[in-house]
């Protein structure tokens, strides 16, 4: 299989599988952005893309869940389920305060992750608390504006637009690279597929200034954070834990409060995300020592390429 075929099968096909629910959920055939968008399409798309991409790497053994990291696709599915259920709740109970809906969504995503994902070395209560905090915290920060925007009483709030898709693309790509450096290609490639889907969602959101919605963002942030924790748990090359955590929460920088007089607030926030991703990824690569010479040094400066 050539590298081009690997990208096609591992990244592009899983992303393409997610595009249909994404397009339906965003109602792309309509010129105007749908009212009260929850982003269920992106939630379903993210779960499908991630599971498909993992399956492309692992085959049918993925469904047996014999290895703890394989639970990631279940976590992605559960997060999508929680997010879609929350969007339905928002639809059928519009008077429910946004604070309750947003907090409930973030907490359920965090709790689902803690219950299903038990990576090695995260068995203590304090470890579980960190997982809950990272997943629920980032989900809450990211989805809060969209949850409030879906409130009829406050439609003027800024939603999650194209820049959020780009932010997830940056963070997902950075995490994919770091996980690859740690020697975990079977997770790195699905993260690449997730990043590609995020970028596609961002591009599609430009039409009609669509809101990516809280359900989609909650799913993306849950998958990103849980994958970062898994990457950290299985790392054996010495990448600092904070690199993984920084990449997990990097998209939260899109909620950085900036004065309204700034014209390019989205770009400024993206610059912060890029800086966080750059520092975390750069540190990870340096600390991993993959550019150091190994025992079998053949004199070349770069000997990370094993040829497969």
């Amino acid at each position: 299989m050539s590298p081009a075929e690997a990208v096609l099968e591992g990244v592009l096909l899983p992303m393409a599988a997610g595009l249909l629910p994404l397009a339906i959920g965003m109602r792309l055939w309509r010129r105007e952005s749908p009212r009260n968008p929850s982003g269920w399409g992106l939630a379903v798309a993210a779960a499908i893309t991630f599971a498909f991409a993992l399956w492309a790497q692992e085959g049918d053994k993925l469904w047996e869940l014999r290895q703890k990291w394989q639970w990631l696709w279940v976590v992605g599915g559960a997060a999508a389920g929680v997010a879609v259920a929350t969007s339905l709740l928002r639809h059928f109970a519009p008077r429910l305060p946004a604070a309750i809906v947003g907090t409930l969504l973030a907490l359920l995503c965090g709790i689902a992750t803690v219950l299903m994902l038990r990576p090695p070395g995260f068995d203590e209560t304090a470890d579980r608390a960190v997982v809950l905090l990272v997943v629920a915290g980032s989900a809450w920060c990211l989805t809060w504006p969209s949850v409030r925007r879906s409130d009829d009483d406050d439609p003027a709030l800024p939603g999650a637009g194209w820049a959020d898709g780009v932010a997830f693309w940056l963070a997902g790509s950075g995490l994919s690279g770091v996980v690859l450096v740690s020697g975990f290609a079977k997770l790195a490639i699905p993260l690449g597929a997730m990043a590609a889907l995020s970028m596609a969602a961002g591009v599609l959101a430009i039409r009609g200034r669509r809101d990516l919605g809280f359900a989609g963002l909650a799913t993306l942030s849950t998958v990103l954070a849980s994958a970062a924790i898994v990457g950290w748990a299985y790392d054996l090359v010495g990448i600092p834990g904070w690199s993984f955590l920084a990449l997990a929460v990097a998209p939260v920088a899109m909620r950085t409060p900036l004065p309204r007089r700034f014209r390019f607030r989205s770009l400024l926030r993206l610059a912060i995300v890029l800086a966080v991703v750059g520092v975390a990824s750069g540190t990870a690569v340096v600390e991993s020592g993959v550019f150091d010479s190994g025992d079998g040094d053949d004199g070349s400066e770069y000997d990370y390429d094993y040829g497969y």
């Binding site: 053994k61 290895q67 020697g183 975990f184 290609a185 079998g296 497969y308």
Partner: protein
């Protein structure tokens, strides 16, 4: 004063006794003038981790055969020689002992792409049935546990020797078998054809006889 006949008698006694003592203390090995008896060779053995190791080979990019090795093999063996003899293995191989000759490749082999050492620090083989196949060969069936998956495997095991060279009674075996790694959940590179699915495993074992009561 020692009388001549007495001195001669002592010399004669020494001349007889010393070779006998030397013979008794001398290292012995299978096939030597003083062969190891079946009774001496029979018993329980502890695997000598320093002098035992496991090698594997897998095809790389459809071309060459890539060899890797595991050190620190441990476990126990039970052996009774002869046509009606018995042979049992209970072997554990720490995944952390994998060596390929390249540090970065070793780390990749330890990752979940391959052996997932964080979650599964050991692989194990436990024999379930063994029968002599003649010429020092044994056919051994057993269960191989890798990545938390246990599958039956059959190995041809060669008895390579038994000796006591002053460091305890020792026996040696060499086992060879082939597995499909994807059946154990190690499928990285199989579909793309970059790494073969079939893995040949060769294990060299040396056991030192367990002391009675241990």
């Amino acid at each position: 004063m020692i009388r001549p006949n007495t001195r001669n008698g002592l010399l004669l006694a020494l001349a007889v006794a010393m070779p006998a003592a030397a013979l008794a203390l001398a290292p012995r090995q299978a096939g030597s003038e003083v062969p190891i008896t079946a009774t001496e060779a029979s018993g329980a053995y502890t695997v000598d981790g320093v002098h035992s190791n496991a090698h594997f080979k897998v095809q790389h990019l459809g071309a060459g055969m890539f060899w890797g090795r595991f050190d620190d093999v441990k476990g126990s063996m039970n052996y009774t020689p002869g046509p009606t003899g018995t042979l049992d293995f209970d072997i554990q191989i720490p995944i952390a002992g994998v060596h390929s000759g390249n540090d970065n490749l070793d780390k990749h082999l330890l990752s979940p792409d391959f052996f997932n050492a964080t979650e599964f620090p050991e692989m194990a083989f436990k024999s379930t049935k063994a029968s002599p196949a003649g010429n020092g060969m044994w056919k051994v069936d057993g269960d191989l546990t890798l990545l938390g998956t246990t599958k039956p495997v059959s190995a041809m095991v060669e008895f390579t020797g038994a000796a006591d060279k002053g460091r305890g009674m020792r026996i040696g075996f060499e086992a060879a078998f082939t597995i499909k790694r994807s059946e154990f959940g190690m499928s990285y590179g199989v579909e793309s054809g970059s790494l073969g699915d079939k893995v040949v495993v060769v294990v060299g074992l040396e056991g030192v006889k367990a002391k009675a009561g241990s």
